[in-house]
Each structure stands twice: as structure tokens, then as C-alpha cells.
């Protein structure tokens, strides 16, 4: 067959759009079977695909869509009302059609048998629909109660999304984002009813059952391969008689209903009115790459012109500079897509997961218009799907549990998106059971992620963050949907890989919110160019906090050493340092740190990268690098700088991990806020002292930490002393000889004192409420630090006691 390839490509693109529209309409219909507009649209979608497929000689697609069209026609003519089974059949027909289109596009073989089975299923549904009005009562008519109180009874009033149509939530398990308030098909109020419905079979593949219980429709899926057309006449009447037994209205499981059709409609309207054209995505990518090159060439031009004294040339270069920036902005815009594109598949996912777990779910969407780069949408797809699956499977309770907890039987998942500070924030919130911190703690210990001691000391927020660690799962049972211990860590790593972050908040009994923070684009990012020796390394501005120079001796004096690793005392806080040259093995370890400290923050990690010099900031075009570079696990990519040379882009998170600074957390904003009510906010160096327990010293007092074996201790006049920078410093041994391994040199107003301790633990910032008059003579008081009773050392008194 000779066919214009452009026409064929157009067909595949349009075919998928029609299928999207069909799916969206079906979801709407599940919420409101009487939605004639949705019926018409879905009929048209099936019809269009059928027509084009016939034209191109795709017989299987044509037959499948013809059968779907027949079924939809019944609804269109009002001869039957769509129910869960027929909707399920149409959903699967759409899926099958999508597979056929993909196969045809890739020139693969088509499994004709499965297509025929699907056609049979659709015909059965048609037969059921035409077998008499008996089918209709099962499928109740919109219930006035719900119509009267569309939003209040649902327990959640949907917010009005910017520029979107009114969103109405109702107790029927349907979210209706449409033009007119609609009424869900079924209202379930009584918990028993909910439970009964939940117990009804899910439309999941099941062994073919010869028509069974009179109360239950034969799951459509069960009819798939082996039920011959001959079986149909027998099966249909029985199924049509469905609700004989005391079944709740609408026994067919139809737990989730959503109508995200708004986007599709809007897109349709735009296409028609403003005359858009279809552009191949790879062409856009090529244009983007060329603009990237242009940006690099522009940078070079500006640099060269800046070195000369030529006003005419400078003017021309400025013009090129501005035009390039403009062009870059516009081209970036062509790559921007509304987040609704990534959300499009979610209502269907919710529907399927809800169906197989027997839950009822509302989906609310706010801010679907928020735009971000299409490459990011790709990145988002899997993490979002996973989060949603988690929400429905683990987050939301079963209808019984919800009612028992005094909630509406229908759970709500809301998706929110907005621009904030040059980033896109996407929140997924459920109103489910929340995350029980105690279970997280127990599971983390059971899975060996943390020790019982560590877990006991961790603040709630840190415990919640454990669910993002690889190998973590709290689901009691491993379902086929989620809970296999892979997932949230993948969500976190894929989001971080693109320079974003994830955080989680949860209130037991109330629900959970997971927030993704993403950059707007990946292609061109502002970066700081740093130097180690003659080599340049780029640090993304997104990670950059500040730059501290170590040029003056005073600045260098703020560098401390803890167990061989350098720290910098920055405004009372100890900042772990990662000397880039030694970490990358470019130079051998040095005992002194010099140059500049680039303070970076990523996620909950804040540390300083020590470089030799800072050059400037530049818009860099991120170039992918091969697996052989990525395996070093410190680079997120490479770039070509203005002078044409290649530079590596540092992966800040991985670098911090390599520099082993993970133990240090950025100061906790929540803790800082609590400071006023719950005691003074202190930054403490925690020390373990054998027999005494945990002791802490204000970090401002700490001068240096040394390994005990590196220090010569002398006895002088019955007092232990040691040498520190040619001075005699008294040593206070807080524990027995042999039990101390490190010496913490502390300064007080009048001098220095050494503290011999078993181990230096970490640095924490938190409010501490002290009980005074407890503990040794040198005690300032005892308070809880990281959940442990801790004696705070009064350095001045310690010094007095030693001398």
C-alpha cells in the first residue's frame, strides 16, 4: 500500500488523541451516565478512528471500533444506559485499539485472536443492552438527594481551580469538573451498602466463569478468550436480570469516577479557533539544540567583544545577545506543556486501582494549566503514577474503615500544581489514614535501614523521610499494585535527578501530602563556573546558597577538623566541607583547606564544596553524557562553555554522599520556629562519653577535634595537660583511661580546655529546655537533645575544674 507517510503519521497521532478523548468521556459517563455530550463525543471518537482505519486498511482496528461504536450507539439512542460492565468493556477496547495502533505504526504483527475476543465482549454488551429495559433499573437514575447537596455532603468542597470550570464533588464518588453541575449515577450513603459494593467483583481478568450468581454481572473481562459467540445468547438474559437479590443500587463496582475532559475539550476548542499546526517533537528538539548552540556561540561572542574596545562591534554584539535571549525564551515556550498532560492518565489509573481494592475515590485537580518543559513531563509520568497508586492502595482506607473513622466513605485525592519561585510545585494529597510514624519506625528497623537507637532519636520528619529510602515498604501485605518496596525511592531519585526535590507531610487519621518541586526546564540552566586547578566544574544555581572565601587567615581559622574531615564554622553552624580536588582524586589529601567554599543545599543536605577559584555564572546547555561517565556518580552531565571547551556539571547530591556529609542535616526550619515556646534554640556538638551518656557542647565553643592517639598527654602537677599550638591546655577526661578516643578542644572566655570523650556523634540544631542543677559540677543543665537526656557542658566551669 502506498500512502503518503505524512497522512499515516497524522492518523496515528490523531488516533491516539481520539482514544484519549474516548477515555476521558467514558470517565465522565461513569460519573454521569446521562451526559449526552460525553456519549456523543465518545461515539464520534470511535467513529473517526473506525473511518480512518478503514481508509488505511487496518481491518482489526476498524472491526474493534465498529463494535465499540455499536455499543455507544445504544447509549446515544437512549436504548440503554451505560453501566460499569459496558464502560469496562469500552475502556479495554480503547486499550486494545491503542496497542493495535502502536503495533501498526511499528510494523509489528497483530494478535487478531485477542481483538476478536474483545469484539465478542463488546457485542455481548450490545446484546445485553438491547435485551430489554430490564437492564435499566439496576442502573439508577440520578438521585435528587445528591443533586440538592452537591458539595457539602461530600465532606470536601473542591476549590475553584484558576480558569477552570466549577468543580463539584459529591458523595457519589464522582468528581465533576465540567461546565454544569452533574449528578453521580449512584449515591452510596450507608456503610453496609458501600461494603457490599466493595465486595463485588472487580473488573480484573478472572477465569472464564459460566454465568454465576444472580446478583452479580458476569465480569466482562472474564468472557475474554474462551467464551464463544454461541454462549452469548445464554449469558445475556441472566446478566440482564442482574439485581434480584438485595443489592445496593448499582451493584456493579464503579468505585472511581472522574471527568478530566476539560483539557481535551479546551484543546479541541483551541485547535479549532486559533489554527494551530502539528509539529514533530523531534523537530522541536532539534531547534532547541540549535538554540543551545546559539547561546554558547553568543556567550563566546560577548566574551571576545568584551576584551576589545570597539563600540560598533559592542553594539552589534549586544543586539545579538538580546535576540538570542528572546529566541531562547520563545523556543523554550514551545516546549512547555500544561501539567494536565502528565495528569491525563491518572483518573483512569485511580479508577482501576480503586476498582481492584474496593475503594471509592474522588479525584480533584487544581492548576492543570501550570506549564513545564515537556522533558520534565516525561520524567514525572512514572513517579506520579506510583504516588497515585500508593495513595489509593495504602493511603486511603476502605469504605468501612472510613465510615468507622467518621469520614465520608469516598476518599479524595487532590492534585495541585502551581509555579513558585521559578519552580513548579506539584502536590498529591489524600484524605486517608495518614502515615503512622510508629509503623514507619518499626519497619525501618525491621528492614535494617536504621538501628533501634537511631530510630529512637529521629525526629518525626526524618522518620517520614525514611519512606523514600530504597527497600522500604509499610504495606502489611504486598499487593500486585504496590508495596513491593520499590517505588518511593524511585520517585525521589527520579525527581532529584532533574534537580528537584520531594517532601512529605502526614497527619495520622487525616491524610498525607507529597510535594514534588521541579525546575521549569532542564535544557538550559544558570550555573556557577568553578575552578580546581585549570579544570572547570559547573554547579547549578538551583543548588547554590552562598560563596565564602577562605582567602584571609581569619576565614581559614574557621575550618575545623572532625575525624579527618574538614568542617567550616559558618555563623555558629558547622558546615561539612567537601574539597573537590581531593574528593575527585585530582590532588592528594591536604591538611589545609584554601580557596572558596561554595555552599550548596540539596534536599536536606547542606555542605560546602571547596574549590580553588570562582569564575562567573553562565547559562549552560546541559548535554547528556554516556554511561561510562555517569558511573562515576558525581556528574549530572557536561556542557560546552563559551570558549568551546567542555566542562563537567556536578551532581551535588551525589557529591555530598561521596563526601560522606549525609550525617549533617540542614537546620530544621520547623525546629527553629518552635524555639520560642520550647526552650532556647541551640546548635550542639553531641559527644558520647562512656558511663556518663550523651554530653553536648555549644559548637561556638568548639575549636578543634583531634584523634586522641595523635595527641601527647602529659601529667603535670597532678593535672593532665596536652600541647595545642605550643600552649599547655588542661585536659578533662570525662571517662576512664582507654575509653576516650577523641579530644574536643573548647574555648571559653579565659582560655582553652580539652575534653576527652569516647566519640564525637554529630551536630544538631534544636530547641533545648534545660533542667538546671542536675549532673556533674561542670553541667549547665540537662535537657533532651534528639530525644536523649543530654548534659550540656559549661565550658567555663570545666576549665576551672581542670586547673
Amino acid at each position: 500500500m502506498s500512502m503518503d507517510p505524512a497522512i499515516v503519521a497524522e492518523f496515528f497521532a490523531e488516533g491516539n488523541e481520539h482514544l484519549d478523548a474516548l477515555e476521558a468521556c467514558l470517565l465522565r459517563l461513569e460519573g454521569n451516565p446521562g451526559d449526552t455530550d460525553a456519549i456523543d463525543r465518545s461515539f464520534r471518537a470511535a467513529h473517526s478512528i473506525k473511518g480512518a482505519a478503514g481508509f488505511l486498511g487496518l481491518g482489526a482496528v476498524e472491526r474493534l471500533m465498529h463494535a465499540a461504536e455499536d455499543l455507544l450507539d445504544l447509549f446515544r439512542q437512549g436504548k440503554a444506559v451505560i453501566d460499569g460492565d459496558s464502560a469496562g468493556a469500552l475502556f479495554r477496547a480503547g486499550d486494545r485499539c491503542r496497542m493495535l495502533l502502536d503495533a501498526a505504526r511499528n510494523g509489528e504483527d497483530v494478535d487478531v485472536g485477542s481483538v476478536e475476543a474483545m469484539v465478542v465482549v463488546l457485542r455481548e454488551a450490545v446484546a445485553r443492552g438491547t435485551s430489554g429495559p430490564a437492564a435499566s433499573p439496576a442502573v439508577s437514575v440520578p438521585v435528587p438527594v445528591a443533586a440538592a447537596a452537591p458539595s457539602a455532603a461530600g465532606g470536601s468542597v473542591a476549590e475553584r481551580a484558576p480558569s477552570s470550570a466549577p468543580a463539584t464533588s459529591s458523595p457519589g464518588g464522582a468528581v465533576l469538573v465540567g461546565r454544569a453541575p452533574r449528578v453521580p449515577r449512584v449515591v452510596r450513603r450507608a456503610p453496609e451498602a458501600a461494603a457490599l459494593v466493595a465486595a463485588a467483583p472487580a473488573p480484573a481478568p478472572a477465569p472464564p466463569a459460566p454465568v454465576v450468581a444472580p446478583t452479580v454481572h458476569v465480569p466482562v473481562a472474564s468472557a475474554v478468550p474462551s467464551v464463544a459467540p454461541a454462549a452469548t445468547p445464554a449469558a445475556a438474559p441472566v446478566a440482564a436480570l442482574a439485581p434480584v437479590a438485595p443489592a445496593p443500587p448499582g451493584a456493579a463496582p464503579r468505585p472511581a469516577a472522574v471527568s478530566p475532559a476539560r483539557e481535551a475539550e479546551a484543546a479541541e476548542a483551541r485547535d479549532a479557533s486559533t489554527g494551530t499546526i502539528r509539529v514533530d517533537v523531534s523537530l522541536l528538539d532539534d531547534i532547541m539544540n540549535l538554540v543551545g548552540e546559539l547561546v554558547v556561540a553568543r556567550n563566546r561572542l560577548v566574551q571576545v567583544v568584551g576584551e576589545r574596545d570597539d563600540r560598533v562591534l559592542a553594539g552589534a554584539s549586544r543586539r545579538v545577545d538580546h535576540l538570542t535571549s528572546d529566541l531562547q525564551g520563545r523556543v523554550m515556550k514551545t516546549r512547555m506543556r500544561p501539567v494536565a498532560v502528565a495528569w491525563g492518565a491518572l483518573p483512569r489509573l485511580v479508577r482501576d486501582v480503586a476498582a481492584s481494592t474496593g475503594k471509592f475515590v474522588n479525584v480533584e485537580m487544581h492548576g492543570q494549566d501550570t506549564e513545564l518543559d515537556r522533558s520534565l513531563l516525561e520524567v514525572l509520568k512514572d513517579p506520579l503514577a506510583h504516588m497515585i497508586r500508593n495513595c489509593v492502595d495504602h493511603g486511603l482506607e476502605t469504605p468501612d474503615e472510613r465510615v468507622a473513622a467518621g469520614k465520608a466513605p469516598v476518599g479524595t485525592i487532590s492534585l495541585r500544581s502551581r509555579h513558585s519561585g521559578g519552580q513548579v510545585h506539584i502536590e498529591v494529597t489524600d484524605d486517608g489514614r495518614g502515615i503512622q510514624v510508629e509503623r514507619v519506625r518499626a519497619r525501618a528497623i525491621a528492614n535494617g535501614l536504621v538501628t533501634a537507637d537511631e530510630a529512637a532519636q529521629m525526629p518525626e520528619e526524618a522518620l517520614l523521610a525514611l519512606i523514600f529510602r530504597p527497600g522500604f515498604s509499610t504495606a502489611e501485605t504486598v499487593s500486585n499494585l504496590s508495596g513491593r518496596g520499590v517505588g518511593m525511592d524511585v520517585v525521589k531519585s527520579s525527581v532529584e535527578r532533574v534537580g528537584g526535590g520531594v517532601d512529605i507531610r502526614s497527619t495520622p487519621g487525616k491524610g498525607t501530602t507529597i510535594r514534588l518541586k521541579l525546575p521549569l526546564t532542564l535544557a538550559i540552566v544558570p550555573a556557577l563556573i568553578t575552578l580546581v586547578g585549570a579544570r572547570r566544574f559547573c554547579v547549578s544555581q538551583a543548588n547554590l546558597v552562598e560563596i565564602v572565601d577562605l582567602v584571609t587567615p581569619e576565614a581559614r581559622a574557621r575550618v575545623e577538623w572532625l575525624a579527618g574531615a574538614p568542617l567550616y564554622r559558618l555563623r555558629g553552624q558547622l558546615l561539612p566541607l567537601v574539597p573537590l580536588g581531593t574528593t575527585l582524586g585530582m590532588v592528594s589529601a591536604e591538611s589545609e583547606v584554601r580557596g572558596y567554599v561554595v555552599v550548596v543545599e540539596s534536599d536536606d543536605l547542606r555542605f560546602g564544596i571547596v574549590v580553588d577559584d570562582i569564575q562567573h555564572t553562565e547559562e549552560i546547555v546541559v548535554k547528556p553524557v554516556g554511561a561510562e561517565i555517569k558511573q562515576a556518580q558525581v556528574y549530572s552531565g557536561a556542557t560546552v562553555l563559551g570558549d568551546g571547551s567542555v566542562a563537567l556539571i556536578l551532581d551535588v547530591v551525589a557529591l555530598g554522599r561521596r563526601g560522606r556529609v549525609a550525617a549533617f542535616r540542614a537546620p530544621d526550619a520547623a525546629a527553629a520556629k518552635q524555639g520560642d515556646e520550647e526552650g532556647e534554640l541551640r546548635t550542639l556538638l553531641r559527644l558520647d562519653v562512656e558511663t556518663l551518656g550523651t554530653v553536648a557542647v555549644d559548637v561556638d565553643a568548639v575549636v578543634r577535634i583531634d584523634e586522641a592517639r595523635a595527641v601527647d598527654v602529659f601529667m603535670h602537677g597532678g593535672v593532665a595537660v596536652f600541647r595545642y599550638q605550643d600552649r599547655v591546655v588542661p585536659l578533662r577526661r570525662l571517662c576512664a583511661e582507654g575509653a576516650w578516643n577523641q579530644i574536643v578542644v573548647c574555648a571559653s572566655g579565659s582560655g582553652l580546655v580539652g575534653l576527652a570523650v569516647t566519640e564525637v556523634l554529630d551536630v544538631v540544631t534544636q530547641p533545648v529546655r534545660l533542667t538546671r542543677g542536675l549532673g556533674a559540677a561542670w553541667s549547665l543543665g540537662v535537657g533532651f537533645v534528639q530525644g536523649q537526656p543530654t548534659t550540656l557542658v559549661d565550658v567555663a566551669r570545666l576549665e576551672g575544674g581542670a586547673s
Binding site: 579544570r535 561510562e628 555517569k630 562515576a632 567542555v646
Partner: protein, 152 residues
């Protein structure tokens, strides 16, 4: 691998390697290679190929040939497999040779493992033997090495 009609012949130590011309993007000389710390020795670094960043692989390390004499100026042979590019640093690029069917042979036994893994076959010419490089295999081998490293 289908039989190429022309080979780009390059020398690595005493070995002659032949690359299907359709796999060769270009030959670069005197390019600045940015060394990349923490990568295995076979990775020489990165090079800017008109805006694309390409990894440079040292053919001598790959083929276990021993270090290149300091005085030698290597050439970079940029090869393409699907959309991926790789620059192979060789001692010199010699010629483009026509493939004569009668000279083709299977890869002989007794090759060093490192060489055999890359060989798709040989071209037995009057004066010498050219090892035909399986470019797809070369890319795979580099990716495969990553996997082993990650599992270790």
C-alpha cells in the same frame, strides 16, 4: 553484522582495526580532551564535537596494548551506533580500504580476549591483517562494563 564495502583502517600499537565507513562520523586530530576524574582508565575524557559532548575511549587500554609512547599524537575516530557517539583514540588513521570478498575471513582463534571481543571478522590482505570492529559490540561492551561495576 552485514559486510561493509569500505573500511576505515586505524592502527593501535601493532594492530590494524577496520571500521565500516558508515559507522564512522569523522576523524579528529589535536582535539582538547577534558579528563574526567573517577572514571575507569579506558575513559580518556570528553571532547566537544561541534556542540555534542562525546566520550573518548582509549583504544590501547581497551585492547590491553600498553601505554602509548609520549611522543605519539593520537587521533580520534568518532564512531556512531544508533544515536550514540563514541570517540576512539587510536595511534593513527591510515586509509580507507575497499573490502574484497575473497579476503574476508572469520575471526581467527588465538586472539587476545580483549581483541576478540571486538572482532566481527578479519580482512586478510596480501601484506597484513585488518580486524573488522563490531561497532555495536563495542558500545555494548562499554555499557556491559558499567553493569558489572554496579553489581559488584
Amino acid at each position: 553484522m552485514r559486510t561493509p564495502t569500505h573500511l576505515v583502517v586505524a592502527r593501535v600499537d601493532s594492530l590494524l582495526l577496520g571500521f565500516d565507513v558508515s559507522d564512522v562520523r569523522e576523524v579528529l586530530n589535536d582535539e582538547d580532551v577534558l579528563p574526567v576524574p573517577l572514571t575507569p582508565p579506558v575513559v580518556r575524557g570528553l571532547v566537544n564535537l561541534r556542540g555534542e559532548v562525546v566520550t573518548v575511549i582509549d583504544a590501547r587500554t581497551l585492547l590491553r596494548c600498553g601505554p602509548r609512547p609520549d611522543s605519539a599524537r593520537p587521533s580520534n575516530l568518532v564512531v556512531q551506533h544508533r544515536r550514540d557517539l563514541l570517540s576512539l583514540q587510536v595511534d593513527e588513521v591510515l586509509e580507507v580500504a575497499e573490502v574484497v570478498a575473497s579476503q574476508l575471513g572469520p575471526r581467527p582463534d588465538g586472539m587476545v580476549d580483549a581483541v576478540r571481543r571486538l572482532a566481527a571478522g578479519v580482512l586478510q590482505r596480501d601484506r597484513d591483517l585488518v580486524i573488522m570492529v563490531d561497532v555495536a559490540g563495542l558500545f555494548e561492551q562499554l555499557v556491559g562494563r558499567d553493569d558489572r561495576k554496579e553489581h559488584a
